[in-house]
């Protein structure tokens, strides 16, 4: 019986940190055989938190554990000829190799040597800015890529004092995840072509351009001559689009947190007013049309907040959804683990790691009619766990 979405596909992962391993994880979740090659001391992400009780331990990094489920793990010293030989022995058997070949990275081989050894191979290289352009040699990081791609500029929303209240990045490592997803997307497409035509290729992913591609709507606005949205609250209120953000959607304070609502269409708005109990102000001219509400959004949001503060976030969300108004409670991770919807869909996968213990890991957001996932889910490999199984012994 054929199992998984990618039966028989082999991936060699020679990358550390987040984006390369996240790309490998996507393949592993789909049932490809992913062999993670670590340096003798381990992937540096083993030193990144969270850790139980905040005490670093190479087998207990929550980040490493989450990024490397379902993979096989081997350690190779690639500074030695015998180490390179161990690697080259595996190269002919794999479909995809994730490696960036940058100076100072895990592997400083000429990529063409890999391709000569396996002409059908797909090489996937992720670098901060790509192997081209004036920043080709520059270093990146999640924080820097998030800021340079303008995502930070908009995240906080407009602020009173832009000169003392800087733009911020999103939590976690969103830039690294985007680069990893871009690498997986391009690699999946290349894999399709390889299966049809037997052609290999070398894909180069720029983490920066991948992040920029997350905002093509903004770039299109620029190419049509629109200015960037201001970050200062006063400038935003002066702009013609003053209340747009607030009128289209936003958050309301509740007695136990916040609820996010967006009754943007007129019909949605009328149903929303019912939920509010049709207060007198809702009949006023200044809130009649979408344009009116946009123009008077600060007053509108204050009036709605006076109501919402008396109710819970889940009550408001439920009342709204019953009337088919897009609204959701503002959840923390605690709420997620108690979320009956996620649990019923089996989103979390419980895995028992021999050293770190039992944890629930986020699964995949897709379910497939002909390929149930997850497949034989396994925890992240211990350092060098599969050396004996997968590496030819060094003489």
């Amino acid at each position: 019986m054929i199992r998984g979405l990618l039966p028989g596909i082999r991936v060699l992962e020679l990358d550390q940190g987040i984006s390369g391993p996240y790309c490998g994880k996507i393949f592993a979740q789909m049932g490809a055989e992913v062999i993670k090659v670590e340096p003798i001391e381990g992937d540096y992400s083993r030193g990144m938190g969270p850790f139980p009780n905040d005490i670093p331990h190479p087998e207990k990094s929550g980040l490493y554990l989450a990024l490397n489920c379902n993979k096989f793990g081997v350690t190779i010293d690639l500074s030695t000829t015998s180490g390179i030989q161990q690697l080259m022995d595996m190269v002919p058997t794999v479909d995809i190799m994730i490696a960036n070949f940058l100076p100072g990275s895990m592997i400083s081989l000429d990529p063409d040597r890999i391709r000569d050894c396996n002409p059908e191979i797909i090489l996937t290289s992720i670098t901060p800015f790509g192997n081209w352009g004036p920043y080709a040699e520059y270093k990146g990081s999640d924080l820097i890529l998030y800021h340079m791609s303008s995502h930070a500029h908009g995240l906080l929303g407009p602020v009173d004092q832009p000169n003392s209240d800087p733009p911020i990045r999103a939590g976690g490592h969103q830039s690294d995840f985007v680069a990893g997803m871009a690498a997986a997307t391009a690699s999946m497409m290349a894999l399709y072509r390889k299966l049809v035509t037997k052609h290999g290729c070398h894909i180069e992913i720029s983490s920066y351009e991948s992040m920029v591609t997350q905002l093509i709507s903004g770039l299109a606005n620029c190419s049509y001559g629109k200015p960037a949205p201001p970050r200062s609250l006063s400038a935003l209120q002066e702009a013609a689009t003053g209340g747009m953000v607030a009128a289209i959607g936003g958050i309301l304070p509740c007695n136990d947190g916040y609820v996010a609502i967006s009754p943007r269409e007129q019909a949605q708005w009328e149903r929303w007013v019912d939920i509010l109990g049709s207060p007198e102000w809702s009949d006023e001219k200044r809130f009649k049309t979408r344009e009116d509400r946009e123009a008077n959004s600060p007053e509108l949001w204050e009036l709605m907040s006076n109501w919402s503060r008396n109710h819970s976030k889940n009550d408001i969300a439920n009342w709204g959804q019953q009337k088919r108004i897009p609204c959701f409670p503002v959840n923390t991770v605690l709420d997620l683990f108690h979320n009956t919807h996620l649990n019923e869909r089996g989103f979390f996968t419980e895995l028992n790691h021999p050293i770190a213990g039992v944890y629930n890991y986020p699964g995949v957001p897709y379910s497939l009619s002909h390929c149930p996932l997850p497949l034989d889910a396994r925890p992240a490999p211990l350092l060098g766990e599969h050396n004996q199984l997968l590496l030819k012994s060094i003489n």
């Binding site: 800021h147 908009g154 969103q174 905002l215 959804q321 997620l336």
Partner: protein, 390 residues
């Protein structure tokens, strides 16, 4: 080898607004023939405005009114000669239209159909109506961003573009699976889960330490310095990250404070965090007299990761993107050539991608109805008169 990876594939795109069109943009630029289907009866809400021009690059656009049964029949004919069907209607809509997976696979057993919705197509909240911006709150994604003492962050267009890329990824995986096994697939995709899957650190931290992760602005638990520093000018900032001791020493030299680099008390990030304010002040003393791009160049030349915090207009002018060929001169449907975005990846050889301007509704009716479906002139006129092709 000049063929793009997905050349020869045909995709019927019933999706609209952002997430679905983003997915099919990736597929179209990588060589698939994407046929976007829409109707003047209920236009894609994103049609007005410049973003539509980016989301729908490289696609064909046919007008078809699938609220009429003849329109549904024609959609079925198109689907029967296609490889992928994508839709992102609210729960139950595609079934009511008569285009469920059970129906479309009768004519095309190997079709790959992907249905994207806010919360997925099973579970107690499956009928929830959603916008991507709201899902960022629902999924915990926004809960780890911002400042601990303030209300949740208000901005950030993230959910739809992120989901769009993952949709393109899983469609491509299903296409590979079809080559390997000969079978198609129905894919139920939850936008909410796609967002939650991208915050594993907070999910594991909660389980390991019974801690609900507080947002932390630009700072990091394990690295310091790690933040943005004010530069010369109005609302100008440079982001700086120090990963190791060597970078710390170099940073201290750049900011003219080699004494800090020599200080044995400041060797590790944990120790440096104890003197956060003093160190941040020392860095700011240098950055606030420097332009943000100059600061990046000086720091990067010294081997320290750094970059300016840009707004979208400055991203549009960024020299890495300009000189690196990220923008493509594309003729828009008003005849004007504009610099439009491309992709985050390049293939080392062969074609870069298929980049053409976004179509207007009905622009490719002739190709779709005459060439692909073989309808006669009279039949097409009749369908136009009946507002089926509409």
């Amino acid at each position: 080898m000049n063929d793009l990876p997905l050349s020869g594939l045909r995709i019927i795109d019933l999706s609209w607004i952002i997430a679905g069109p983003t997915a099919t943009r990736f597929l179209a630029t990588m060589g698939a023939e994407v046929i976007k289907i829409g109707s003047a009866r209920r236009p894609d809400p994103s049609t007005r405005g410049a973003p539509f021009q980016a989301y729908n690059q490289s696609k064909l656009y046919g007008s078809l009114n699938i609220s009429k049964s003849r329109g549904v029949d024609i959609a079925k004919d198109l689907i029967s000669i296609s490889d992928v069907l994508i839709e992102n209607f609210a729960y139950g809509v595609i079934e009511r239209l008569g285009l469920s997976y059970e129906v479309v696979r009768k004519d095309n057993p190997n079709i790959i159909m992907i249905a994207s919705s806010g919360t997925g197509h099973t579970g107690p909240d499956k009928e929830y109506v959603a916008y991507g911006s709201l899902l960022q709150y629902y999924t915990g994604w926004n809960s780890i961003s911002g400042h601990p003492d303030r209300p949740p962050v208000k901005g950030g267009l993230w959910a739809d573009p992120w989901v769009g890329m993952e949709l393109a990824m899983v469609i491509s995986a299903a296409l590979s699976n079809r080559v390997l096994t000969g079978q198609g697939q129905y894919i139920d995709f939850s936008m909410a889960e796609s967002l939650t899957a991208a915050i594993p650190e907070a999910l594991l931290d909660f389980q390991m330490n019974n801690r609900v992760k507080e947002p932390q602005g630009n700072s990091d638990d394990w690295l310091f310095p790690h933040g943005v520093y004010r530069c010369l000018g109005n609302d100008r900032w440079v982001a700086i990250v120090v990963n190791n001791h060597a970078e710390w020493i170099e940073l201290c030299k750049v900011i003219n404070r080699p004494d800090l680099g020599d200080n044995p008390e400041l060797i590790s990030a944990v120790e440096r965090m104890k003197y956060q304010k003093q160190i941040n002040d020392a860095i700011t003393t240098w950055t606030e007299t420097t332009n943000d791009y100059d600061a990046m160049e000086i720091l990067q030349e010294a081997g320290i990761p750094a970059g300016p915090s840009l707004d979208i207009a400055r991203v549009f002018e960024n020299q890495q993107l300009r000189k690196g060929g990220y923008f493509k001169g594309i003729v828009s449907n008003d005849g004007v050539t504009r610099e439009m975005p491309s992709l985050g990846w390049r293939f080392k050889e062969g074609k870069e991608g298929n980049f053409t301007g976004a179509p207007v509704l009905g622009q490719h009716n002739d190709y779709i109805y005459r060439e692909l479906l073989g309808l006669t002139e009279i039949e097409i006129e009749q369908l136009i008169a009946e507002e089926v092709i509409y």
